[in-house]
Every structure is written in C-alpha cells, then in structure tokens.
C-alpha cells in the first residue's frame, strides 16, 4: 500500500491503512492456533519483531502525516474502538455531549501514569489538544473547536462553535496525552525522545532501519478489549522498516520477524499454506475508485458518468489484480465504517452492475457514437479518449489495464499514464486531468464532506448545492440513527450522480508466527497486552 494514492490529504489517507481507525468488522485476527506445532512454549519475556509497511517520518504523531502502530503506541487516546469499530472508554471512562451538540465532557480515569511515573491529569490533555490544534497537519479533523477547559484534574470540557459529529472519531484516533515535561523540554523536537501513557516506551530509533520500544510493564489501563488485565508478557517490541517485500518475506520465513504487516496479495497464498503461520485479514476503511475530473467538459453529462460506471466489472479486478483480497464496493462508503448503508449499497449494485449494452445506449444518448467505424466513440469529430492517471504501483497498473480493456468494450479508449504520486496529486488537485485511479478513506462518514463538501472537492471537483446541506446535516447530527439516515440521503444522491466509480475495499493482511494471543484489527491496532512469544 505504501504510496497508494489515497483520496484525501496524506494524513487521512495514511490513517486509512493504519490501525488507528475504525474497524474492519471482518475476522479481527483469529485466535492463534497453528503456531504451537507441538514445540515451543508460550511465555513471558522476549522481543516481538514487526515488519512495518513504512518508516514514519516522525514519532511525534501530532506532527506526522503517517500514523500507525510503529509510532502511535506510546500514546493513548481519550476513547478507543474495539475490533468491530464500536467506541469504548480508554483514558476517558465516560463522555457526554450537551443537548445542543456543542459541548463535550470527558471524565478521565484516575490511575493513568506517564512512562516517567507522573500521574496524568486533565490539564495535560488540554495541553496536548491545544498543541494538536496549533501544529498538526491533521488539525482540520478537530472541527470548529472554540476552547478546551480542565475544570478539575479529571474532567476535560471541549466547546465547539457548532455541532460536529465526527469529533468522536477524532477523539478516538488522535486525542491523547503527551508527556508534559518532555513537551516543555523538547517543544517541536518532542519526536526525538517522545513519551506518553501508552503500552510502549520509546527506547531507540535507527533511521532507515528500525524503532525499538520497551513494553510498559505498569500498563493497567488498556481498553476493555484487551484480555490480559495484568502485567504485559512481552519485554520489547521492535518495528523494522524493510523496503523490499521479498526481503520481508524471506526474513519472515526465517523467523527473524514474527509479524509481517500489510502482506502484498501475491504472498498470501504461500503464507496461508505454511504451518505455524497465522493470517489476520481486516477489510480496509478506504475505497479505491476511478475518479472523474468533474470539471472536465467530458464528464459534465451525468449519463456519461453513469455509462462508465456500468462499463466497469469489479470481479476481475478483485480476483486477478487483488488476488481475491478485496471486496467490491459500489456505493460511497465501505462496509467498515459507520454511516455505511446496505440499502444504498444495494441500490448502487443494481444500478451499476456491468451492462455493456445499456452503457453504450447511455453514451449514445449523450451524443457519443462511433461515426467512423474505428471502434472508438466520437462526438463532434473528437474521439472519446480520456487519460487515466495512475501511480506507479504494479497492482494499480494492472487495474488500469483491466479498466482499459473493459471500457474499450463500450468504445472508450482509455489512455493510461503512469506517473509518480506527486505529479498525480498535483494534476488532480489542479483539475488538470481527465480521470485518476485514487483512494480515500477515514473512519468516519464525514469523509464524504471532505470529498464533496464546499471547497473541499480537491480530487473529484464535484460540488453540488443540493448535496451540501445533506453533508452538513451528516456532520452536525450527533444522534447515531439520525446520522445514518442523513448519510443514506447523501449516498442515494451520490449514487445517482455518479461523480466517481467506487471499485473495492482491500483486505489488510497481517501474517504472524511464533506468538500466542496475537490480535490485530484496523481499529485496535496490534493488542500488545495479550501477546506471548513462543520460545523454541
């Protein structure tokens, strides 16, 4: 996944791939069964070595644009999510929101200590949140925040200028406590020697190679989904950043790595057949999509956009390019995030099941016909030959070629242009393109506001006065059921308008060996608390 082009700014997109966010409800890491093999005993102690997908730019997650297990597990958030994505207490035992939806109150646990031993208080949370608002590249996720208060050592009160439902997601993903003494001492350099209240304690960082942590033996405030309420078993955790997938695979086979995160699809079969290896698959919260530049005259006609959506067959893409490790998605949201509606997905599925004849008919209605008999549609003497921008990853290039051959059947001549990510972003942002193969994802349906909201549609360039109030309603409704309804309206509208063609959500695959009690999911991350190493 590394540099796949996600839909949103780096921060969001990165979140997608990482464990921070809302869960894949799918198999969240089956209990370890295979790895005992009759030999070896699971026990206390030892170092867990993990091959991480990418080296984070910094360990200061408030400054980072890449947040995952490798750099965020020194910190805890106010709330957490379990493997199904349900929000559960963490640093905050409970929370409430005022009736007007503007004031959030969090009641903190009283037993939380920093790695330094200092007890955590509400003032520290206030300080951390204020720092986040001041410096984080992700600060827009915090919403219309007015002020943060700490009326007593165990209460945090946050006031918004207007209701902002996604705040709960932000709080579960970002808002935690950073060691205040270190913050004072290091300031912007906090990432050089970071510390918090989390299950891992920073030990050392070797740039380009690894980050090592000691396991926090005092950690007793894990979220409820961790089974081990006592002292953690592991001594240390090391994240290694090996660039090359083949090398990771080799090391994993040798047993020098116990956990292989984000296994590329073509390795999965082999790993599944290896004795003693466990595989955890979690459906991603992101969607890969074929995006139109909706400012481009070519795609002004809704019939053209619908026709292209009908020309696409997701099955070969999922089956061959993704080796079956993905789920086709037709509607605007993947099944892994709140706001997903089966109703909307079914409408979309019915409307856009592959139908070459109907697609051709719609295109003909829009004025695209093959007048010169070359097999390519044309209109006003111009052939229908849009350019598709694709990032360099082999899988994406494969998908692009499959799309190309599918669109050819309805008479569209897709020209593939493989470019580096930066050029792609640049051109897509400037609307200087026809189509692009992209991805978006966030653990909150507010992603749609970030994709289509006023002034936000930087990739698809689709804004609509009818859609805007629906999106705003979604982000301002704190009641869960009302919110779901709001997003059903958004979804139906988007499906009809077809400003892009959603393709699939991929399975995030983690392989593990020589461990007992290993669990991971996109929303919980690896649950270090429960892991025992099997020593041979």
């Amino acid at each position: 996944m590394k540099e796949t082009f996600h839909g949103l700014k780096k921060a969001f997109s990165l979140l997608v791939t990482c464990s921070v966010i809302l869960a894949g409800c799918s198999s969240a890491g089956q209990p370890q069964t295979k790895s005992q093999d009759g030999q070896g005993v699971a026990g206390k102690g030892g170092t867990l070595v993990i091959a991480a997908p990418m080296e984070p730019d910094t360990l200061d997650t408030q400054l980072s644009t890449w947040v995952d297990d490798a750099n965020m597990r020194m910190y805890d958030n106010l709330l957490a999510r379990d493997a199904s994505g349900k929000i559960v207490p963490h640093l905050a035992e409970k929370y409430s929101v005022s009736e007007d939806g503007k004031v959030w109150t969090f009641n903190l646990r009283k037993d939380v200590k920093y790695h330094s031993g200092e007890p955590m208080t509400a003032e520290h949370i206030k300080k951390s949140i204020e720092r986040f608002v001041a410096i984080s590249p992700n600060k827009s996720l915090i919403g219309p925040l007015v002020k943060v208060e700490a009326p007593d050592p165990y209460t945090v009160k946050i006031t918004m200028s207007e209701p902002y439902a996604p705040f709960l997601s932000t709080v579960s993903d970002f808002m935690g406590a950073l060691d205040p003494t270190r913050l004072d001492k290091l300031g912007d350099k906090f990432g050089d020697d970071p510390s918090g209240t989390g299950p891992l304690i920073f030990k050392e960082k070797v740039r380009g190679a690894s980050v090592s942590y000691k396991v926090n033996k005092e950690y007793r405030w894990s979220p409820e989904f961790a089974e081990n309420k006592g002292e953690p078993y592991l001594d240390e955790v090391m994240f290694r950043f090996i660039k090359d997938d083949d090398t990771k695979m080799l090391e994993f086979k040798k047993g020098t790595i116990q956990v292989f995160q984000q296994v590329p699809p073509h390795f999965v079969k082999e790993l599944e057949s290896m004795p003693g290896v466990g595989i955890a698959k979690n459906l991603d919260i992101g969607i890969q999509y074929l995006g139109f530049n909706n400012k481009n005259p070519m795609f002004q006609d809704v019939r053209v956009r619908q026709a292209i959506a009908m020309a696409v067959d997701r099955d070969p893409i999922v089956q061959y390019a993704m080796n079956g490790l993905a789920k086709p998605v037709f509607g605007p949201l993947p099944p892994t995030i709140p706001g997903y509606s089966e109703k909307v997905e079914n409408i979309a599925k019915e409307m856009y099941a592959r139908d070459v004849a109907k697609s051709k008919q719609l295109l003909a209605e829009a004025g695209w016909t093959d007048t010169n008999g070359d097999g390519i549609l044309d209109k006003d003497g111009k052939p229908f030959s849009p350019e598709l921008l694709v990032a360099g990853e082999p899988v994406l290039q494969q998908i692009a070629q499959i799309l190309q051959s599918q669109l050819k059947e309805v008479g569209i001549d897709l020209r593939i242009n493989v470019t580096d990510l930066q050029t792609l972003r640049d051109r897509a942002t400037k609307a200087n393109h026809d189509m692009a193969l992209l991805m978006y994802g966030l653990a909150d349906p507010d992603i749609l506001y970030l994709m289509f909201g006023k002034g936000n549609s930087r990739r698809l360039h689709y804004e609509n006065a009818e859609l805007e109030p629906l999106l705003v309603k979604g982000r301002q409704t704190t009641d869960v059921n009302e919110r779901l309804q709001a997003y059903e309206a958004v979804g139906e509208f988007l499906v009809k308008e077809s400003p892009w063609v959603p393709l699939y959500s991929k399975e995030v695959v983690t392989a593990y060996r020589d461990v007992e009690g290993f669990k991971t999911s996109t929303s919980t991350g690896i649950i270090f608390q429960d892991i025992k190493l099997i020593k041979k």
Binding site: D246, H266, P316, Q319, Y320, G392, P394, Q397, Q398, A400, Q401, I402, Q404, S405, R415, I416, N417, V418, T419, D420, T423
Partner: protein, 305 residues
C-alpha cells in the same frame, strides 16, 4: 579521452580511436565497395547484421507473424509457462509473450531510431560548428562538458521529471544524454580535416562555408559518424529500455521490452519467462548493433587502408 561510461553502456569506442580517414574524394563508389568487401568478410559483423535483419523483419511483419492479439486479456490463460501453444509463455493477463515481444519491438526499435536520429542531427550540427567555427568552440564544448558531468541515466531521469513520463519525452531525454559524446567525436574529426592544407586552400578561394562543410568536411567525417551511430543505436535502445523499466518511458499496456521486464519483476518467483524473454530481446538487438558497429569500425579503419 572521451570514453564516457554510463551504467548501461560505453558511449564511445575505447578500443580503437576513431579518426577521420585521409582526405580524399570519397564519393568514389570504389571506396564503399571496398568497405563492404571488408565488412562482409567479418563474421562477427555479418552475424550482427543477420540478427538485426531477423529482428527488423519480425517486428515489421509482427501483425502477420504474431499468433495472438497483444491486448486481449484471457485470465484463464494467465502465467502459463512456455509451451507449444505459447512459445514464450503468457503474462499476468494471459497475453502471449511472443506476440507482445514482436509488437513491442516496434516501440523499442522506434525509440532507438528516433533518439539516435535526434542525437545525430543535433550532434553533427553542433560538432561541425564547434570544429569549424573556432570562436563558438569554447562555448559549445563547455556546455557539452556540463552535460557530460551528469551520469547519463540520471540526466535522462531528471529531464523526464521535468517533461513528464512517456515515450516521446523518454526519447528526447535519451537523445539529450547522448548528444555530448557525439559532438566530441564529430568535432575532433572535423578538426583533423580542417587542419589539412587543402581546406585552407579552398577557403582562400572564397568558397562559402556551407559549401566547404557539405562538400569537403561532411563526406570526410562519414566513417566515424557511421560507426558512432551504429553503436549509439544499441545504446539508445538500452537507455530507453532502462527508462521504461523505471516506469518513465512506455506506458502500459504498451509491450515495450523494458516495460515488460519491469512487469515481469513482480512475478519473478512465479513466472521467470515474463522478464527473461523481453530482456533477451533487448540484449540480442543491442548485441547485434555492437557486433555490426565493431565490424564497421574495423572496415572503415584508415590504418587498414
């Protein structure tokens, strides 16, 4: 010394100095017949010529020879090993590799042809100007020195970063990277001709420069140009393939050879044939050009006159 070495190739000819042949009225057919006779005795050169002709034939008539269409996906046939039905196996979309190599040759050879033509035209022009008009010499050669201070591939990559990836831009980048060594060879050949007394004599007669250049200079520097161009052909194909391998040249699904090797890389452990055969095609064509170039150099070598 202008034996600049790049990662993919030597772009001039270390073994034998390319000197302009002795001034003579080279229009004489007899001279070229002699050269051909010498060349035809050279087994290596003839071997190169045969390989080359085979490739050119196969590539030109690709649509008649190729047993399968190149872009049609047949997923049930994906990653088949070489067999009687698929001579060189199939790729990840079930496309026949033999057919793709034949068609891809059109792109690979054309990339070579166009970049070489571009480099030749610019290289000869600048080389002649530098050699003939001594006032411009300093400036041109300084610019060439600057261009030559870059490792050629890196220069090409940066040029593509500026222009954008794609076939045309890759060809331009390859041509630009090849120009400096061309200019050097042409310039030194022109210089050695220019020093001959009769050029001064002709100049003294008040003959216009362009006539001197076209009648007296160009014909006499043909040999090094021919050898250089032949060798450069191979090199350009290699460079263009390298750029496509990095994803900067041909775009999918174009069956350019370097791009095919790149795709094959992902499937190396499952389907070695996906990268072996396109790479072999590159090597054979470049080898053929080098064999022919070596032979031409020997045949045109004044020392053997």
């Amino acid at each position: 010394m202008n034996g600049k070495v790049t990662e993919w190739h030597v772009d001039t000819n270390p073994p034998i100095q390319l000197l302009a042949q002795e001034p003579k009225q080279v229009e004489s057919q007899a001279y070229w017949i002699l050269v051909w006779k010498r060349l035809s005795k050279n087994i290596t050169a003839m071997g190169g010529l045969v390989i080359l002709l085979l490739f050119i034939g196969g590539v030109v008539f690709a649509s008649y020879i190729a047993p399968y269409p190149i872009d049609q996906m047949k997923f049930e046939d994906r990653l088949l090993a070489p067999s009687a039905t698929h001579l060189l196996g199939t790729d990840d979309f079930g496309r026949d590799i033999f057919s793709r190599i034949l068609h891809g040759g059109q792109i690979s050879l054309m990339m070579g042809l166009i970049s070489v033509t571009l480099a030749t035209v610019v290289g000869i022009t600048l080389g002649v100007i530098a050699g003939f008009y001594r006032k411009l010499d300093m400036f041109i050669m300084q610019v060439m020195d600057i261009l030559m201070s870059f490792p050629a591939l890196l220069l090409a990559i940066v040029i593509i970063a500026v222009l954008g990836a794609g076939l045309t831009n890759a060809m331009i980048a390859v041509a630009i990277a090849a120009i400096p060594s061309y200019v050097r060879v042409v310039r030194s050949a022109v210089l050695s001709i220019r020093e001959k007394e009769y050029i001064e004599a002709v100049q003294a007669l008040g003959i216009r420069d362009y006539k001197i250049i076209s009648r007296h200079i160009i014909p006499n520097i043909l040999s090094p140009i021919i050898v250089m161009t032949t060798l450069l052909f191979g090199e350009s194909i290699l460079s263009a393939a390298a750029l496509s391998f990095l994803g900067l040249g041909a775009q999918p699904p174009a069956p350019e050879w370097g791009a095919m090797v790149f795709v094959g890389r992902t499937f190396l452990s499952q389907a070695w044939w996906m990268s072996l055969f396109p790479g072999l095609a590159i090597m054979l064509v470049v080898l053929a050009f080098n064999m022919l170039g070596d032979g031409l150099r020997d045949a045109l070598d004044p020392k053997q006159n």
